[in-house]
Assembly symmetry: D3
Homo-oligomer: 322 residues x 6
């Protein structure tokens, strides 16, 4: 008889219903909205599951059609949602995203205040389930949601640490949720628990005020918070990986952009794939390939396979295969 | 030079963005959502404006693309929204509507808690503007939203009364917002201010526990609350109008149903049209024709013209004119 | 080597681009329009070609993408358009059609004034090509378009007559193009050339003022204009066929309605099929089946096959075959 | 730690990609096709999983995007597909479905010859996994596919029987796959293994030539094949349940029809739900409610919940709840 | 009480219904058409209203659903259409636009001959209403429509001049309406009334035969017609502003192109914004930002806000704000 | 009377229904598929017919809605399909195409095994009809389909040769149908019959192992197979034409890409146009222009006109003409 697959990676965070005007329309005038699901931590779990890494996501969702939709869609892509908790009449987090085009910037605005995850406490979570995994992934978005969500994050990090999990932390500063000062103060408490940190160069500057090179920024993380490894993502240029053993830069893979959101999370999934294979360089390369592929796919999720990632990395992709 | 048209009817209430799966899809699986705007009181103003009755709607909206969309769409159909107030970072009320089909019931669920209108107080409103109108239209939905919205309703009724406006009140019981007992207690305070009441037979039974005929129900409203006229809407059968001068029944106009929501508000608009023409029977007939037409139009709004209403009433409509 | 198939039926008339809001939308608000092609005489040729009857259509079209589209679509369904004439910078006839639903009537409005066919004269037509056919089909729409089109109709009827063609004439009164009086006067000149006439009971009353039964109406056509056979179509009820040999009534086949336009032309095609098979009763039965099927198909055209017509007539259709 | 849920019901059969023109279009002209997944046995598993019955489906699928899609979609609705087998370069079964409307019959045509399931042998299946379940569900479609698939069916029935599973068998005669004579011969070998049989009145007449009442038909199944219970489905009328303890008729629930396919499978799922609850009458009532709801949902699958089924049965559904 | 806002800018010209194949389809084959509204002068009014500049548009429209649609859409974006005149059974101007892509050029063809505006005379206009505004905006398209429209333009310019309005004139040569020679002759009569002229470098060469630099072209306008200021738009390069006080060049803002039409009108609106703020340099910068944003929006209209224009100019836009 | 136009070019090969996710969706998740028709040889005939070259296509198709659709669509664009043969219950070839974007490669997978064309023998074809044409066009795809199709190709080449037709052969290596070795062996037998060969540089390397320049590759074809002319297509760079009279290189025309498939066939059609005009250089230039235009059009087919090709070649295209 088939044994259940325990997750190797568990992420914790909010997932939202994302509503997007199609075909470059504006929110002011579109008569239809595309429906997708997005949330940094769930995005990572979805991407990992498609690389055949057993992945679970934990959160609290409202017990209605939208909450159920989130779980069903996650299950569709292989994410274990059996430990998700339900709020009997809670609010589903939503966000509206206009893609923009050329000179017109993309815009996001949230309708997530008071959503179900803000009623989730660390002790409600099934830590025996979570603790089976090797890696616990979390981001700087959750503590920005509310005071209770901040405590949830803090306690969850301690609980994961206590169980010997490797902690992956994506800074993900969100200016629509808090300000740099508040973010910095919170992260200074949380980051000492992290093993691996992912941070954009821009967030490094905005939140921590670090003005040096990407390498110097990475070293600051190592020095100040004692983390083992940092990737500093530098937008369309590439990624700098800094560990105690040295620094490494990998260029981004250029691509046409269909949908920009979720690319950072696709990168994080690739990096975690590398951690699981004890090869951070592989992780960076996977992450960059997955971020490039994600840019070509509508919605927040990387929809693809390990084979596609490898073909892109080995240069076998391109043109039309027939 | 053109003088500004003062409104003849002003309504007050919440408008929401409505999101609906197309083509009989389910919310759990649809990949697109149609976007419409709905709110009982705005629906009435939109329908009146299309009969060339100067109509305004007052409310509070969040200052974002969704709030602006509501005003722009209302303006598109001729509603004066110049007295709407803005909440700098408030929440837009939303609702999700699955149309259903045959054996599958339609379902609505709201995401409107804490929306901008719950931050509106009576004294913020421009009563000099509102007071120009002859009729003030309001429904039993607003007092169900929150304690503050209940006070808003109560004070607005007093203010309108003070200015000699005719008050039209649509009971509109919403089981997802409160219970019959709470509704009844509130309406008992509010209805003595009303001149004209619109109530479904079902709400009469549920909220007030009146088990008699539609005529008896109407007379209860006259006796208990001192209103001048009541229409008791009896679903697909028709409407009973009860005034001190007597009772009158008018049959509903049968139709294929494309979208059920907003038909009651189209009826209310027709009735108010009759009040303005000092002919309640005309109002009931207009209301029934407009409700029938509304059933054939996607969204909450009656989109049409006085000519179409009259052609339906005189039997000139039907088939294809070419 | 394959010999070219000479047409058995040729029709003459205007084809228009038809623009229709999808999904019960209104023309006032829809953001998309479906594009179809319609024109009574072309509709008949398209339906006949799908029954494998060699059919051609002649007209004048503007030499632009819309005119070319008409010819390409007709060719797609097997209609010979090789004798169509081109106006180097003419106007394409257009019409806007709102389908309506239930209480809301369907509406058509035309934008066809001055279109290319109004620049077509009888002598421009390739009568050697047309004259190969057995049947010439024409309707009361063409003479309503303009004085020049009236002359075209009159001369074409004479020319066809001269060549011994059987003339099929569909009355098709269009109130948006002329009035009953003008129509009657014109038809009194044209109909004596006709062999077979198709007329709705309603047009019989409106144009000729005949108030008797369908049978009496048919006999009027025989007496007054000397035609050989008449079908009086009585809407959802059925069709009365009147010839010198007697009268016959056939009931309509009930159906859900997807798109009402073109059903009369599908009937005409079925009738002409019967004429070609020297069996008018068969023609009426084919016509009614084709009209029923047409009602279920979006656009003005019968899209189907002789097999489907026969299965509907023999009752083998119904349910889902799998 | 969470124990894996063993399936209570396992079904075996082919799933196909279904391609359907939207909006009443014809296959000859539509420019888009809707993509759904259908297959009688998978349809049943999907419906059961949504009633929270642990259900698994076994089959063989091609290892390409279409095969993976089938598994992902099944997982989305909670079906365990962990025991599905993969054909490295097999063909995905397809079918094209035109919905029809009114007088126009729906049509199905298959492109499933030589598909992956025709390369599946009984011994490849993980019988330890399947054997955990209480019920094994199979239909008369599988043995119609090919000689190898007939053997698969026969051997699977024996294997399931050997393990003490209750066998549910849906006759499902498919005239496009074989003829009545061949079907009857095969079923005469297979049905003696069945415990519960589902058969339409029409299939009873076509395949077995039984011309009596539904009750008599049911008794024939009991007598001839020794099955414990039979439901004879009588289209829009209802269902007759025949067991050794007697006969029971339950009326169908009328409904508007959005998509006809899969309703029989939704009924089967409800019946199996009743078997699991040791209440066949409950099963018939659930089945009829689920079939009615299925008719209102695009695609082959019942998308819904136990709560909706119960509300329909208790009459709480109807209108719009808000 | 709220005073009516008098318009600051009034434009006069034709608006058309624009029909466009979606998704790079061709007019020959597309099965849907997007519906937008376009007309150079209305486009300008719509853009200004969204910058919160009170703007009105005057014209003559047919009294049907298409004509009403134009007014409702204009009202939706805040344009005052209260002075529009109605033709009881006139023709709506239409145009068909294929966007093209890469090597395939975009194409426009008109169906506007004999449309309602060709029945508008200067004296029908409400000059007391128009005369309240500071700026009167008109283009070289109107005089190209017909002799009567040429007279309308000439008389309207005189009337506006008489009332002391500042006249903004956009040359907008349309080769499908007339030839360069005829255009030049007409403009030589009209332009002496203009205060501000907008002209593309290409039109300057084609119509006036001026072969010098953009600056020299601007000076020609000053010298020959006595205008106060000219902007010479040089496609993707930028704009040269020439006044008696000197010359100034501003570069265009590069952008991905979603829909090319209306960008020139968005520029004109920005320039007029600058005129109202007595800062032509600001106007040029606004115009270029608005033209860039317009390129990213489907349809002819700039849909946006002053805030977006400023963010683009200050470089705050870019990426995704969240 | 009109004489039938005999074809000047006849092509032989398989056409498939192509199914493509819209809007950059993935096959795994899209809910709709666009339907197009593709097949190298039919694509060529369609493109030629639009240049007003009488063109026919011969093949065998299944007698169902999909097979009929292929013929109707071909007829729509002017291709003579009167000599196509029908398989009473054959399989329609299908292929699924994901367009890809940027870093994500396009992918094609076929479902064409055992399709109707594999049941076509050379002697079934109407060679008197085919033999009227000047040019016979065929590709390396047909012999890759099956042994019977290989024989069909071989015999058809001989038959065409015998009748003095000029043979145009497009190598078109398909890695999903066979391997380079098998392809080479087959082509070595077939190519000596060819007059004109079209081959991509990549196929030259893969199939024949030729590693030299494009010119050298062309000369190999001349030497080894005795063909009269070869075009070596070098992707985005251009085309090298090699004949006994010398070599000529023409650059490709850059363009945005909407749909990549069918561009090679559009080139082939242009080249054949040149052959018919006895001007191979013209053919190469037409081919490159047609390939560029094809890249901008959804589907496999060049939809356009000779005028558009010439405007692109003379540089008159570009921008928006209005």
């Amino acid at each position: 008889m088939r044994a259940p697959k325990a997750p190797k990676v568990v992420s914790l965070g909010e997932a939202m219903i994302r509503l997007t005007p199609p075909d470059h329309q504006r929110l002011l005038t579109t008569d239809k909205l595309e429906i997708h699901i997005g949330g940094a931590e769930l995005n990572v779990a979805v991407a990992l599951a498609q690389l055949d890494v057993p992945a679970a996501w934990v959160s609290k969702l409202p017990l209605n059609a939208l909450g159920q939709r989130v779980c069903r869609e996650a299950a569709r892509f292989g994410v274990d949602t059996s430990a998700v908790l339900w709020h009997p009449n809670g609010k589903m987090g939503l966000y509206f995203y206009e893609r923009g085009a050329g000179a017109r910037a993309g815009t996001v605005f949230y309708d997530r205040a008071g959503s179900a995850i803000n009623f989730l406490d660390c002790e409600e979570l099934d830590w025996d389930f979570i603790g089976q995994a090797q890696i616990f992934h979390i981001t700087g978005i959750t503590p920005a949601l509310s005071e209770r969500a901040r405590k949830l994050t803090e306690n969850a990090l301690k609980e994961a640490k206590k169980r010997g999990m490797t902690i992956s932390f994506d800074v993900n500063y969100r200016s629509r949720l808090w300000n740099p000062e508040k973010c910095r103060q919170t992260l200074e408490r949380l980051l000492p628990n992290a093993d691996i940190v992912i941070c954009t160069e821009r967030d490094g500057r905005t939140v921590f005020g670090w003005m040096g090179t990407a390498e110097e920024m990475g070293q600051q993380f190592l020095l100040q918070f004692g983390v083992r490894a940092v990737t500093v993502t530098q937008g369309a240029r590439g990624v700098t990986l800094v560990t105690s053993e040295g620094t490494l830069f990998e260029s981004a893979i250029g691509t046409e952009v269909v949908d920009r959101l979720g690319a950072g999370d696709a990168f994080a999934a690739g990096l975690i794939f590398g951690i699981l294979h004890k090869d951070l360089h592989l992780g960076v390369r996977y992450g960059l390939a997955m971020a490039a592929l994600k840019h070509t796919i509508p919605g927040d999720w990387f929809i693809g396979s390990r084979q596609e990632v490898e073909e892109l990395l080995t240069g076998e992709a391109g043109g039309v295969r027939r």
